[in-house]
Amino acid sequence: MQVNRSSLSLDQAPPISVPFRFFLTAPVFGLLAALLLLIYGPEALSTRWAPATLALTHLITLGFLGLIMCGAMMQMLPVLAGSPVPSVEWVTAVVHLLLSIGVLALAAGFLLGANALLHLALAALGGGFLVFIAAVAIALKRIQAQNATINGMRLAVLALFITVMLGLTVGAGFSGMISLGLLIPLTDVHLGWGLLGWVGLLVISVAYQVVPMFQLTPEYPARLTRLLAWALFGALMIWAPLYLAWGSGGLPRLAPDVWMLAPAAAYGLFAGVTLWLQQNRRRRVSDITLLFWRTGMVAIAVCLLIWLWGLIPAEAYRPAWPLLLGVWLLFGMAVSVVNGMLYKIVPFLAWFHLQSRQVALMSMGKVKVPNMKELIPDRLAQRQLYAHLATLILLTLAVFWPGFLARIAGLSLGVSCILLLLNMLQATRRYRQVNQELSEFAASR
């Protein structure tokens, strides 16, 4: 009998401060994005190239989504695959600091048109992401077991690397550091890899685990999980040069657009299967994370419709089209899923760390560890879900009537981010309280 006893380190899970630092900072960046929309109003929704729009987009993609996804990944690798990120506390400190400085400098650089700030942003973001990618790559390389989640995560991290490299190149061109042709098509390829590569692939690979685990659905079909991430990654690898060839005049626009049908259909399939699985879940109780996920999956379908609308040549040149697609990709799909996951990850981690300490202290019956619903009550999470849905609707309408609605949408986004922050703080405060009780118990023995 081979016993696994000594093969594991006791520090399988990173300290709770590792993921929580990212989860508590992210809503603050969301709040800054909301402030920006409040201050700049219609200007932030006039064209995707407006400085306020660029700043707003990056506050959400890097500040909100990026931070949460980095924090969650460092937590998930040991939980799902038994492979901790090396030197996780050091990596966390560096990555969190550099990314935070980078996002602030980037947003300020766009708004003020200050190239020096943009250069600082490029250095900080490039450094932060490269440390993150290197650390996570080591953890991913050490995993012996092969499964769809691990393979999907590997491809997602590779997509992140490509996104960062493209972002640095575009940023260097934009800020006059290098002379760069094809700035606009390169920007589109950068956001294609960022949203359909890094964000989409991570959502898909995490879904394979968390949808059946937390929502008690049947498993995803094995053939889908085996092929989907590879197919999407391969499709992007071909789409990017096709798109750049169109940008340099070598191909008609139809070529990359027709090719994009492949990843678009693949995402549609993923969303359809996920909704079907959720419809067939074993325990049919309402759940906030489930509702966030459903919003995200419906948003993928909406994105497909918006994208098809943009294939009509006259429509694609209206400034509303890319803005609308951006709103639904970012706030509809990505923010919904990532925000929803926090309502499982954060209470679970707080519960788990308290429970572990209780087991180590043998304090069962002496100190009560709160359950997940006591850490973040459903009614508080639900309130934030409504604010998020209101934001999504208001942003959609504000694309068409920015003068009237942009600031109201900003206000709604601000409310949603404040509620999210308060909910995260509620779990943190409760964790600290009970942890203190456990410390007192340890001292009294």
Binding site: M1, Q2, V3, N4, R5, L8, S9, L10, D11, Q12, A13, P78, V79, L80, A81, G82, Q209, P212, M213, F214, Q215, L216, P218, E219, P221, A222, T225, R282, R283, K344, F348, W351, F352, Q355, S356, V359, A360, N371, M372
Partner: protein, 92 residues
């Protein structure tokens, strides 16, 4: 004696709660056989802290089987059946 525990249909953190609860009832010579959908990496350090040994193998009706017994309880360890599933179960 075997104590069987199927946690494959439970939402986290219920599997961990049930397992910790069940470990409290193990007598000398007993082992716990857990049927789980995935490998529960996070609980292993708790086993170690509580003085339990464990063996995990892919297979069984849920996907993974985890056998847990008190450290140095040779009788319980000897009772654990050999693997009936040499390959990981295919997903349906």
């Amino acid at each position: 004696m075997e104590h069987a525990l199927d946690v494959s249909g439970l939402e986290p953190p219920e599997p961990m709660e049930r397992i910790l609860e069940a470990l409290g009832t193990l007598e000398k010579g007993d082992y716990l056989r857990i049927m789980h959908r995935r490998e529960p990496y996070l609980i292993y350090p708790m086993f170690e802290n509580m003085g339990f040994a464990w063996h995990t193998r892919p297979g069984g009706p849920a996907g993974y089987e985890i056998f847990v017994w008190r450290q140095n309880d040779e009788a319980a360890c000897a009772e654990i059946p050999p693997s009936r599933w040499s390959q990981p179960r295919k997903q349906k």
